[in-house]
């Protein structure tokens, strides 16, 4: 166990003292501050005529003030954080010859990869938590809203999902840094996966669904439904969509399902029309639970693959 602790401590210190982290952190901080500022400006105007506004605090995170909301920003930019933090964790050490030297010391081999992953996850957690706190503080100053307990809990759940999501991308980056000897190649591979999932999966899902069910239209509802089912199933393979759906329902209590409106079944439609009030946190959680579990599962799978590949690799000194 002591090996894990030593590696973890060193990696954490490395993250926090690196220029890479500083640049990344200031960039995210800047963007979130701008978003929070713009959102609070627009919310002020919108709230003027409403007698009893609900969940104003959560609006800070989900309302699209200028271009995009904070939640959308993390969904899109979060992968990049994980990739940038992890793409050279193993192969840089291999190329510099430090990996074989660490492994020649009396520690278990998995202490290296576990320590690196854990340190990354902790860094991500601190990053997310501090940004959410900054936005909260800014909201308090600009709008004077105090979050209720329900809202705080929702934000907490949102933070946990975000940490798992970014950790998944850290896992992807570490996997590539184990597989590829060259730092540039592993960075490129990570970027390729990111671009694939953020742009091509939703596009591809659309095309594939249309190819399967070509006769869908407003007059053929059954085919339309089938088309949407296929499209949805394919796009759920993307962690970005998984994350977006999960967080959208958590931070927006008025959203009662992650599915698109056309696809909502008749009974569900009836019940959601009857109860127009916001969902309780418990109900929101029930809706997104499968998404959260899937996210955790793919993160675990990704890390497990890295672990196995790393444990089986031959360690040569040069």
């Amino acid at each position: 166990m002591h090996g894990l602790k030593v590696i973890f401590k060193k990696e954490l210190a490395d993250h926090f003292s690196s220029y890479r982290f500083l640049i990344l952190f200031s960039l995210i901080c800047m963007v979130s501050l701008i978003i929070a500022y713009m959102v609070s400006m627009t919310i002020k105007n919108e709230m003027k005529d409403i007698a009893k506004p609900q969940f104003v605090f959560l609006m800070l995170f989900i309302s699209q003030g200028g271009l995009f909301s904070f939640v959308q920003f993390v969904a899109f930019f979060g992968p990049l954080i994980g990739l940038i933090m992890g793409f050279d964790l193993i192969n840089r050490e291999r190329n510099e010859g430090t990996l074989s030297r660490i492994l020649a010391q009396p520690i278990y081999r998995d202490a290296v990869i576990n320590g690196k992953f854990l340190a990354g996850v902790v860094t991500i957690s601190i990053m997310i938590a501090s940004i959410v706190l900054v936005i909260t503080g800014l909201g308090l100053i600009l709008m004077g809203v105090v979050p209720g307990i329900d809202e705080i809990l929702r934000i907490l759940v949102y933070m946990i999902i975000s940490i798992v999501y970014i950790s998944f991308w850290l896992g992807v980056a570490i996997l590539f840094s184990i597989i590829f000897r060259s730092v540039t190649t592993s960075a490129l591979a990570g970027l390729a996966v990111w671009i694939f999932f953020s742009f091509f999966v939703s596009l591809g899902a659309n095309i594939v669904a249309k190819a399967f069910v070509p006769d869908a239209g407003p007059d053929n509802l059954e085919a339309l439904l089938k088309q949407i089912t296929i499209q949805r199933a394919i796009s759920l393979s993307s962690p970005i969509i998984l994350y977006s759906d999960a967080t959208a329902t958590i931070v927006d209590p008025t959203k009662k399902t992650t599915r698109s409106f056309v696809f909502v079944g008749p009974f569900e439609k009836l019940s959601s029309e009857r109860f127009s009030g916001p969902l309780s946190l418990h109900q929101s959680l029930l809706i997104v639970l499968p998404y959260i579990i899937t996210l955790i599962a793919i993160t675990a799978i990704c890390f497990a693959i890295s672990y196995i590949v790393f444990m089986r690799q031959e360690i040569r000194s040069a």
């Binding site: 430090t98 010391q105 009396p106 000194s317």
Partner: protein, 253 residues
């Protein structure tokens, strides 16, 4: 001078097949406590692979090895705690300074803080880096990096040390310093040292016994005298190790 009593390292038919190629071919040898043992051989002869197997970093395809009676395959962690390893291309974290680097390595070995601090100070002084201790390793010259590698061994205080080409690419002055330091490790720290090198003058000066490996096979083993006698039938006084080595090499090639 050689205390031939306890075999510290023992191998039997140690073999490694790497990607279909035989890197180490049925090597059997013993290294005794307190001696400086030299490994000679052309590039790619399997010296490094042999060391990696003894360290438990690579699993042998066949045969067995014992380091201080411990099996490096089954108890790799224990073996790694007993052995100090200085690879050919020493990797350091360039953004750390010497003290931070040595502390990190001491932590990995589980040394308590007060013992580590004491040893680090002594080690830096021994290798003559005490004035550069706060400098980032990235700014170190090759000679300084190699000496820092030795400092690491002094901090760890292993029973056995593997030195892979410790003088490669060093200038004559730095080379002499290195030889002195290695001698010091052997005599004062009573470390058993296994030395891989192409710098035959150094091997001749330092090693009590040596072995020649060509294409993964052990072709000769013994003291200077026995090696010379085998090939030339005379005492070693007349021949340098270089001449003996070339003779073996030409015959094999």
């Amino acid at each position: 001078m050689v205390v031939e009593e306890k075999a510290i390292i023992e191998t039997e038919n140690l073999t490694k097949v790497y990607k279909g190629q035989v890197a180490v071919d049925h090597v059997t040898f013993k290294v005794f406590e307190g001696e400086v043992f030299g490994f000679l051989g052309p590039n790619g002869a399997g010296k490094t692979t042999l060391i990696l197997m003894l360290l438990g970093l690579t699993e042998p395809t066949e045969g067995m090895a014992r380091v201080l009676g411990v099996d490096p395959v089954r108890e790799a962690i224990k073996v790694k705690g007993l052995i100090g390893y200085m690879p050919e291309n020493m990797g350091f974290y360039n953004d750390l300074d010497a003290i931070q680097m040595l502390k990190f390595m001491a932590d990995l070995n589980g040394l308590p803080r007060h013992i580590a601090d004491e040893r680090i100070e002594k080690a830096l002084y021994t290798v003559g880096l005490e004035n550069e201790a706060k400098k980032k390793i990235g700014a170190y010259s090759r000679g300084m990096r190699q000496r820092l590698g030795l400092a690491e061994l002094i901090v760890k205080e292993p029973k056995v040390a593997f030195l892979d080409e410790p003088t490669l690419g060093l200038d004559p002055d730095a080379t002499n310093k290195m030889i002195e330091l290695i001698e010091n490790l052997s005599k004062e720290q009573r470390m058993t040292i296994i030395l891989c090198s192409h710098f035959l003058e150094m091997v001749q000066k330092l090693c009590s016994r040596m072995r020649i490996i060509i294409k993964g096979k052990m072709v000769a083993q013994g003291t200077m005298e026995t090696l010379a006698k085998e090939k030339f039938g005379v005492d070693s006084e007349e021949y340098t190790l270089e001449e003996i080595y070339m003779k073996y090499f030409q015959e094999e090639a």
